[in-house]
Amino acid sequence: MISRRDFMQTSMAAAALYGSSGFGNWSRLAAQQLMTQDKLLEFDTFGNVSLIHITDIHAQLKPIYFREPSVNIGVGGNKGAVPHVTGADFRKLYGIDDGSPSAYALTHDDFSALAQSYGRVGGLDRVSTVINSIRADRPDALLLDGGDTWHGSYTCYHTQGQDMVNVMNALKPDAMTFHWEFTLGSDRVNEIVEGLPFAALGQNIFDAEWDEPAELFPPYKFFERGGVKIAVIGQAFPYMPIANPGWMFPEYSFGIRDENMQAMVDDVRSQGAELVVCLSHNGFDVDKQMAGKVTGIDVILSGHTHDALPEPVLVGETIIVASGSNGKFVSRVDLDVRDGRMMGFRHKLIPIFSDVITPDAEVTKVIDAQREPYADVLSEVIGRTADDQMLYRRGNFNGTWDDLICDALISEREADIALSPGVRWGPSILPGQDITREDIWNVTSMSYGEAYRTEMTGEFLHVVLEDVADNLFNPDPYYQQGGDMVRVGGLGYRIDVTKPQGDRITEMTLLKTGEAIDPTKTYQIAGWASVNEGTEGPAIWDVVEAHIAKQGTISLDPNNSVKVVGI
């Protein structure tokens, strides 16, 4: 019998082995200018089960640029722990050479320069090639989609997710879980899910009225693969009605519900499951915490917080795999399951370098068919970035895309202060690159994109910032929602991430006058993506397009308006 200690050594050895031979290879290959499809996909097939994980695609059908964050702060027990490690620290942790393909894929430094060498990433026709290659090694590999799939582009918005459904169906997933899908509205989600040729899972998707499991979304599904009885349990994003407009899907309730997760794990184990996989949209820190509370999960495939990790994180006997976002990565996890338990694993985070991986022509055809009716609208050039200006979103406090969106809100909506939601999706634009209408939609598209204008007192504005900050920096991950801090324009502040809610945000300053925000004074606030029903205003993509068209060439002032302490 294998003891827990043996298991850990086995699996860590496997991880370490792959960490040096599979993952580290990219760097050496780059030095040799030998990055080829075969090398990227090279994998010594292991054990008897293969899992393929992709998550948080956000409707990115085509190759894009995607810069990873430079600021990703962990708090409480996760201070300094992955995925809260960025840049040079991240490269040092995983032994990645500066300037290598993996440095480009996983860290932010020199992004625009490296993008010139290594090109765009993602594209679901390339993803298909990777999946096909894994299926060639292991025909019964399970393909699992972590959700945030039917959201995030012009075509997705105008087809109400149908473009993504059609393309994903061509990839033949085995199961999926959910988050932004629900912002299509419950009628549309129900309509799609009823016709899905694969399992739509969520042990935490409940009927809001009766607080009972929702019939349309079973908690788990069994698969027989490689002679192993596998249970895949779905975990949808727990805080949908809070982080997104609950009025769009009032019939549903979510939550972490880890006691029900434990009950489901016990249930599938008692039915003979030899391997329990949780397909999760919890976010990484929540998954880590859940892995420590719920016993009996072998693998958590983690989504939501868009982290890409070259090695799984081990919590007890559970491995947690994080596979990035926007179609940029696919994870392959091979498992050795014997005598009813997981004995070891081999893992590879495969970056989808779009110029290296040959597109699957069949899937290219499906993608083109979705985009063809909108081709002219998508490709219209609205402006361009200056030669020293990159546009990106990720980072805990700001990104240049949101700086631009906030500028657009202030000037187009004549406001003192602008607020832009701290979402983590949206590709990047390189310096000197055309900005098309599609690019603008890629960072703004949603079913509640009205750009509102409202009045707030200084005191209320402080409450808003404190509330959002606690969703990010509460030391207990179960009280976090997985978004980044609300982005602000026209406002400066100081944040101490170690303080409790109500005490984090100080020194709020109205930038245009340099004066301190007066709690009793009323300010004109423009923003978008309100979760409140009945929000009125022009669509955010129209506001941003008008602003970019007026500017022509986009050049932004560096954003130093947020002072962060307590890191």
Binding site: P238, P241, G246, G255, V423, V463, D467, N471, Y479, G482
Partner: protein, 138 residues
């Protein structure tokens, strides 16, 4: 030392802290617990309270309490202007000693359940429920 109700509550809270359960209780909630327990010490044990970490709607928050050996369970929303929510009583023939209901919470606060067990002792569980204005998840 004379054992007052308030001291007894403080001791009970101390025991809970040792058990790793955070508890912040208002004076009104303290008084309600003291009235329920008659000043007896409150420990941790056979009581479970299930509540969401973050409320989807602060006006209707689903909670559930259960205990195999309780004869009464009192539920308090410690941060509400009136903390009392409900007291559930279970007879010997009760098939299951569990109750669920929905409660309104004025803001982020601890919900506390205190159970009187068959042996006359008292146990307590608490759970922090965050009530947030929401937005920005992504």
């Amino acid at each position: 030392m004379e054992l007052t109700r308030r001291n007894a509550i403080a001791m009970g809270a101390g025991a809970l802290l040792i058990a790793g359960l955070p508890i912040r209780v208002s004076a009104a909630a303290e008084d309600a617990i003291a009235a329920f327990t008659g000043g007896a010490e409150v420990g941790a044990g056979d009581i479970s309270l299930t509540a969401p970490e973050i409320a989807e709607n602060g006006n209707t928050v689903p909670i559930e309490v259960s205990s195999d050996t309780a004869v009464e369970i009192m539920v308090l929303a410690t941060g509400n202007p009136t903390p009392g929510v409900a007291t559930f009583k279970f007879g010997k023939l009760a098939g299951s000693r569990a109750a669920s209901t929905r409660i309104r919470l004025a803001g982020t606060q601890d919900v506390v359940a205190v159970a009187k067990l068959e042996d006359g002792s008292f146990v307590q569980a608490s759970s922090t429920v965050k009530v947030t204005i929401g937005g920005c998840g992504g």
